[in-house]
Amino acid sequence: MRKISCRLLTAAALLAAAILLLASARGGLEGPGADVLLRFRLFRSLLGFLVGGSLALSGAIFQAVFRNPLADPYILGISSGAAAGAAAVFVFVPAGLLFLCVPAGALAGALATLGAVLVISGGGRSADRLLLSGVVTGIVVSSLLIYLISLSDSSQLAGVTWWILGDLQGATPALLAALAGLAAGILAAVQFFSNELNALAVGDEAAMTRGVAVRKARLFFVIAASLLASSCVAAAGIIGFAGLVVPHIVRLLAGSDHRRILPAVFLSGGCFLQLCDLTAVALSGAKETPVGVVCSCAGGILFLVLLAKRRRQA
């Protein structure tokens, strides 16, 4: 199949992101407090864009490093670590400080998990060892999460559950600026080393024969992708499937050369989550529908469609 131009896809995704941002601000903005509501909606849409883009970029990096199309941003147990960190905050920190401490706890949990995975795997000596270390660490940290849940009362449990479902309501200018800075920095760095990412995706020995310092390169990409995933879960909880499905869709449309597709992956991931959030808002009645639910549902359906398409082509 002849692929579409990556520049065209990038431009289309950028345009779609802008349209979705404007769409998020439409309707019900009359009367007092309209400007506050407008700011809230715009910030929320921007947070969706940054989180969706970062998750998609993280997923694309992990899929290349592990040469596994089923890899996602949480493959090394980052989400379990973040959830355990957030749960610890809900259980042990007074309710008045939750707003500040939950993201910090989630980030600490995610980074501690990443550190444990890197130590256990011997600094990412091989992709298989890294993957296995991630799976094992994820299982251990999940058991810690279950233990923390067993300690929680009903209001704490509700807080943990809502956080795990993922939501974008906590957007503030400072958070948006931090996420945007991190995402832009990592996107630029990974783009600069995208030749190395392609070589790793082909195989370790092949990459070495092409002049790539495989162990250092793998460590760099794993840390970059994990930082993206950690920042996302700290800001918006666990949002599944965006990081798995979006890279597949972009590769299907524009090819698999990471030198070309990374910006398109980021922008498409951003649009995907913005769209999921608009859908979640539209579906919400008296109680808000969590964006994580819509994202997992839409991502799951898209993934099934991709699988069916692959089966037909095979």
Partner: protein, 256 residues
Amino acid sequence: MNLAAENISFAYGEKTVIDRVSFSLEPGGLTFLLGANGAGKSTLLKILCRLLAPAEGQVLLDGKDITAFSANARARRIGVMLQQPLPGLDFSAEEFVLFGRTAKLPRLAPPGKEDLRAVERALDAVKLSSAERLRPVTRFSGGEFQRIVLASVLALESEILLLDEPVSSQDPARSAWIFEMLTALAAEKTVFVISHDLDLALRYASRVLLLAGGKIIADGPPDRVMTPENLLKLYPLPGFTVSEGRSFRFLGPRHA
């Protein structure tokens, strides 16, 4: 354009697989390395391109220790074809071949005209049609994928080619034309080939190295080196003999 091994030794744990081996490779014809399974052929090739570090000895590139060159400088000069598993991601054949030029590709810029021409020439050399070039590599047969891997090495347009069983999955006709093409390349490049096919070595090699017991037991033109006695030392199978004629046949006790 000279690659040389000087007193190279290598061991996996206690087992020595390469024992003080010395030889040099130059352009002007195909050099074949023959040896039994597990004799250390692939290990020797990986030492030559510095994928493995020898326990003793050194590899010289144009008379200089190969470790004096950066990884990128080595990769630009030595194209290496190893046994390559299918990648997990759906790269197109064209993309996969372009990645063979990783060491020469620019950063933060699309591939230059010279890069695209090199990919075109490599794909032409392995006779991959225009329509097939856009197909994902995961949808090719094993033999077709092996030719794409060879194309990715050719696309580098390096001075030295080290090829580990480049036609092991090819039919006889394709094996022959691939070796016709490699023979033409070897006029100007250093081409070193590991193979188990004695007939191909007899037809296309200008020089044959026989590796057994960790040592080069014979080195020279194929008609002088590939004798039944040497081949039985190379592939020792109790009760077997070698028939010599237009091709070599290993004959078991029932057929001897």
